[in-house]
């Protein structure tokens, strides 16, 4: 039977941990610990240990690396949600094995994105309580961090649970240390034909929900910046579509990296086959081209006949202090497009080049997120304050590196307790 054959090959070393796995885990936990130590200094001393300072007379940026990192991380999460939705709704069967990877990736990145916001606020404990107790929906902050993050995280959890029940029920029939866990995860699931049909319907509905939440959440992240008329360099109607497209692109790029790593680690060339990478390459190409278009439109609009204030920000980005970062990130977006386009046009796909394009796209996206946040604060002033500056400190770097390591730990541990690859044949036979 196709389903059981598939399931026989899904354990992927679950429940077993090699020495190498342990060494990597300990190393990552050490990095997480270093981040926690840095954050503890911030809690004790205050954010004076960061490079953040007030706008105005102090000439600084009150938001910086934490927020840029948050945008990048949640962008991957929102992008992963949109990719799950697209693959389900449009029947992209080659991407179905990725669905659980996407779900776990989304959960991990949304989690660390939320934490980077917590790291940024002055009163983290009060924030957790007051955002619920005194929630004000008119604030874009509320939209992003309450509706966006919480709804996205909750819906991904629900999706992961519902999607994984069938495999959990099959895994629960097999002896092993994790049997109890699989019994719990599949509680109430019978794997009958009627239940499979219901599960497929549920997955379709969830795909629609995830797609909507993904787009909505990425847009509200953009509104945090785009609706601020008093902040030159931020205000603009293109922020929201730009955020959605960049979220999609970073999500796809991160998926390529994870899929390539899993292909190498698990030696599973069937699940992570050439067609999957071809699809991912082409989706990445499409999204990158769309984002380059957005960048061009932004550039033309802001440099043609904008206000003197907005012009100062554009000038700082194109020719001034931030020019190296802007041109580097723009060049990297173009390089991503070129690498993926050449393969699409030639019809020959090389995994190394696809992975390279994914790495480049993510570096470009991080730089772009930084450019969205910082120049509008240090240069985008309306009164004659002096130009500001912002340089992240070791505390900020360690906190975000620690959070990134935490996401990888989350992924590594998940892989050991649940099949990370969705059962493709299982999906196809769902409606039997």
């Amino acid at each position: 039977m196709a389903t059981s054959t598939r399931i026989d090959s899904t354990p992927f070393g679950m429940g077993k941990a090699s020495t190498g796995w342990f060494i990597i885990l300990v190393a990552l936990l050490a990095v997480v610990g270093a981040g926690a130590y840095a954050y503890s200094r911030q809690i004790v001393e205050g954010e004076i240990v960061t490079g953040l300072r007030d706008v105005g007379p102090a000439g600084g940026a009150p938001w910086g690396l934490y927020i840029a990192f948050e945008l990048w991380a949640v962008g991957i999460g929102f992008g992963a949600m949109m990719l799950i939705a697209a693959s389900r709704l449009f029947g992209w069967s080659h991407l179905v094995p990725l669905n659980r990877i996407l779900a776990v990736m989304a959960l991990a990145t949304l989690f660390i994105g939320g934490w980077s916001v917590i790291a940024d606020v002055g009163h983290p404990f009060r924030a957790v309580i007051n955002i619920i107790r005194y929630a004000r929906p008119m604030s874009p902050f509320f939209g992003t961090f309450t509706v966006g993050l919480v709804a996205a995280f909750a819906s991904m959890l629900v999706y992961l649970y519902l999607d994984g029940r069938r495999e959990a029920s099959i895994m629960a029939t097999r002896p092993g240390r994790l049997r109890g866990w699989f019994l719990l995860a599949s509680a109430g699931y019978k794997d009958s034909v009627a239940e499979r049909i219901r599960r497929q319907r549920t997955n379709t509905v969830m795909a629609v929900v995830l797609g909507i939440i993904g787009v909505f959440a990425a847009s509200t992240s953009a509104f945090v910046f785009g609706v601020q008329q008093g902040r030159p360099g931020w205000f603009g109607a293109l922020q929201a579509p730009g955020f959605v497209i960049l979220a999609g692109a970073t999500g796809v790029a991160a998926t390529i990296l994870v899929a390539a790593l899993l292909r190498a680690e698990l030696g599973d060339r069937e699940s992570f086959g050439p067609k999957m990478f071809k699809w991912l390459n082409n989706i990445l190409l499409g999204l990158t081209l769309m984002y380059i278009y957005i960048l061009l439109v932004e550039l033309v609009t802001s440099s043609y006949s904008s206000s003197a204030h907005a012009e100062r920000v554009t000038d700082a980005i194109i020719r001034g202090e931030y020019a190296w970062m802007f041109w580097l990130s723009s060049g990297l977006f173009l390089l991503t497009a070129a690498l993926t386009a050449v393969q699409a046009i030639a019809g020959r796909y090389n995994l190394r080049y696809i992975v390279l394009a994914a790495v480049i796209l993510n570096v470009a996206a991080i730089l772009k997120r930084y450019l969205i946040v910082v120049p509008g604060l240090t240069v985008g002033r309306l009164l004659p304050y002096p130009e500001g500056s912002y340089n992240p400190t070791w505390v900020e770097y360690l906190v975000v590196i620690g959070l990134a390591a935490l996401a990888i730990v989350f992924f590594m541990v998940f892989m050991k307790v649940f099949p990370i690859v969705s059962s493709q044949n299982g999906q196809e036979s769902e409606g039997e």
């Binding site: 001393e45 205050g46 954010e47 004076i48 960061t50 953040l52 300072r53 007030d54 706008v55 105005g56 007379p57 102090a58 000439g59 009150p62 938001w63 940024d120 606020v121 002055g122 009163h123 009060r126 924030a127 007051n130 955002i131 107790r133 005194y134 929630a135 004000r136 008119m138 604030s139 874009p140 902050f141 509320f142 961090f145 309450t146 945090v224 601020q228 008329q229 008093g230 902040r231 003197a308 604060l377 002033r381 309306l382 009164l383 004659p384 304050y385 002096p386």
Partner: protein, 248 residues
């Protein structure tokens, strides 16, 4: 209910920054936090240089961007026109600060007690004080406001929260003027009920040609200026020096 506002006469202002000092004394603000700030700017090049002064308190906007973006309602608009910050509710996200086009907000990056003007831990000072740190604080700042019973004066200069000019709400609720208006040696700052046509501020507003800072941005500030605003090319010529901003 009065609707307070302020009229600042730039033609009278001499840029002495006494208002900034008065604000600091009244509100015990930490170092580098300027609830009232006076721009000393110049335009054009020597020998045609034009020097201008622009006092900048919080504009207490009727359509305040900071109020709109606050995710927890810590920043709010009072019925009497003041824009206030509830220190006990603020989570320190600094969204108000990035949304404000006037740059009036200050975040307490460090414990303000360690951030006052004199470094009380300095060895020389400690030898003179015997390690004692003066306990001076304006007791009025610690009281809850009469209007809504929330702590909105400068009482809790607390690490991790945002603060800004309150129009000296603790004085206004007693029928007094803000410290900056009381201190100005040339009577450039007039404070009062702009809904009362007989108030000094209303009379001044009626008698003069005024402008509002960044009025194109539709923030509807409650601070009006008499005179001409600094031009596009205005550049700041002298900033207050602190240990945080360097120079001391």
């Amino acid at each position: 209910m009065p609707k307070y506002g302020m009229v600042i006469d730039l033609e009278k202002c001499v840029g002495c920054r006494a208002c900034m000092v008065a604000c600091k004394v009244e509100n015990n603000t930490p170092e580098a936090n300027y609830w009232m700030y006076v721009f000393r700017t110049e335009e054009r090049e020597y020998p045609d240089t034009k020097v201008t002064f622009l006092p900048r308190p919080c504009q207490h906007c009727d359509n305040a961007p900071c109020v709109k973006v606050c995710p927890v309602g810590a920043r709010f608009k009072r019925e009497d026109g003041l824009v206030a910050t509830d220190w006990e509710r603020c989570i320190g996200c600094r969204y108000c600060e990035v949304a404000c086009p006037y740059g009036v907000n200050s975040f307490n990056y460090a414990d303000p007690k360690k951030n006052q003007y004199l470094d009380w831990s300095d060895a020389d000072i400690e030898s003179a004080t015997g390690g004692a740190v003066p306990g001076y604080a304006n007791p009025d700042l610690d009281r809850k406001s009469q209007l809504e019973g929330r702590k909105i004066a400068g009482s809790n200069h607390t690490k991790g929260v945002v603060e800004k000019c309150t129009f000296c709400v603790q004085k206004v609720e007693k029928g007094q003027n803000p410290a900056c208006a009381e201190t100005c040696p040339v009577f450039a700052i007039t404070f009062g009920d702009l809904d009362d046509p007989e108030s000094a501020a209303s009379r001044k507003l009626k008698a003069s040609k005024t402008f509002q800072l960044l009025d194109d941005w539709n923030t509807k500030p409650r601070v009006h200026y008499v005179g001409t605003p600094p031009g596009e090319g205005a550049r700041e010529i002298e900033r207050p020096k602190t240990r945080q901003t360097g120079g001391v």
